[in-house]
């Protein structure tokens, strides 16, 4: 009887530890890619990740030119503008403790630019109210779950000779905070 009590206690403690730790890992770890990219990155500004840094991330695809923008929406939405690439171009949006929440690829670009506005839900409401009814909205609006996060810009490098071009393209990209009129 006492052995059974101990067995049940063991199973309950083991089960609880397992479940709690699975949920805690994303909240406490700092070895994940989002924390590592975010560390030391300037806020609301683009920062290029050079190829040597990219190689230090496990299983990284080095056939990419990568830049990140750590955004903070507390003062207003953030606008990302990337000129179009001949190859695949994608903006992945992520939060440090929950991972990727959205991505926008160059298929969604208009007039040669991929134009993405990241905003919180209340900011999106205000932007929608400010919209001119006669004009089509050309930017892509993404609702961020929280005010802080990370935009990862990736340009595919199809052959070694196009690396320079892809990196130059990301240097021309923009990540800026915008203030909404009252």
């Amino acid at each position: 009887m006492r052995a059974l009590v101990h067995l049940v206690l063991f199973a309950v403690v083991a089960g609880l530890t397992h479940i709690v730790s699975i949920f805690l890992i994303p909240l406490v770890t700092h070895q994940d890619i989002f924390s590592r990219l975010e560390a030391g990155a300037p806020v609301n500004q683009l920062a290029a990740i050079d190829n040597a840094d990219l190689k230090s991330f496990p299983f990284a695809d080095t056939n990419l030119a990568v830049a990140i923008c750590r955004y903070d929406l507390t003062t207003g939405p953030v606008r990302l503008r990337v000129p179009l690439s001949e190859t695949f171009l994608v903006i992945t949006l992520a939060e440090r403790t929950s991972g990727i929440f959205s991505s926008v690829s160059d298929r969604a670009a208009t007039r040669g630019v991929l134009d993405v506005v990241v905003a919180t839900a209340p900011q999106l409401d205000r932007i929608a109210r400010l919209d001119d009814e006669d004009q089509a909205v050309e930017e892509i609006r993404v609702a961020a779950p929280g005010p802080k996060g990370l935009a990862i810009l990736k340009v595919f490098i199809d052959r070694p000779s196009s690396r320079e071009k892809a990196e130059a393209l990301l240097r021309r990209a923009q990540c800026e905070s915008e203030s909404l009129p009252n």
Partner: protein
């Protein structure tokens, strides 16, 4: 005495729970991934709907998953016959590649570092690969120089992993109806003595 016994049970429970977590999230954990032929595939790793196990794994491995709309990754640590991949052997990656705007085929050591080699080549992109008639192609992976698209291995490396990334695919990453016949095969072609 009784208290000590209870305490021991609790400590053992904590250890067992922690061990289970390590098993489920560590590099050897394939439980959260689907398997098609020799390819492992984590359909929700880059989605906000990732289950807690997938999410915990993404955060422990330190990898950047592809977002759901971006594409998907296939990973193999065994060849078509089920044998573990060894860098002293040669392999041929051939057969149907799923449709994608671009793909990359890369080799890594089991912890995800690029394999050191003299040619400094760690993979091929869909644009780089040399194609034969009917745009057929094969990628040769091995320690000895091979004709065609050769991905060099260093015989000393030991185990290795092959990663295929498909960018912008008409098949969504959450499409789980993959069939082994629609994916490339990774066949062993020989081994160093």
């Amino acid at each position: 005495m009784r208290l000590l016994l209870i305490l021991t049970t609790i400590i053992l429970g904590l250890l067992a729970g922690g061990w289970m977590t390590l098993q489920m999230t560590g590099p050897a954990a394939h439980l959260v991934a689907r398997k098609v032929g020799q390819w492992y595939f984590e359909p929700h790793a880059g989605a906000p709907t990732a289950d807690p196990y997938t999410r915990a794994r993404v955060f422990t491995t330190g990898e950047l998953p592809l977002a759901t709309g971006e594409g998907y990754v296939l990973r193999a640590d065994r060849d078509s016959s089920g044998e573990p991949l060894a860098s002293s052997c040669s392999y041929r990656l051939s057969g149907p590649f799923p449709p994608a705007r671009y793909w990359t085929a890369m080799v890594f050591d089991p912890s995800g570092r690029p394999l050191p080699n003299l040619a400094d080549r760690h993979g091929f992109t869909s644009a780089e690969v040399i194609r034969g008639t009917g745009s057929r192609f094969a990628i040769e992976i091995g320690p000895e120089p091979l004709a065609g698209n050769w991905l060099p291995l260093s015989a000393r490396t030991g185990a290795f992993v092959v990663l295929l990334r498909f960018y912008e695919t008409p098949l969504s990453a959450t499409a789980t109806q993959f069939d082994a016949r629609t994916l490339p095969a990774l066949d062993r072609t020989g081994c160093l003595p």
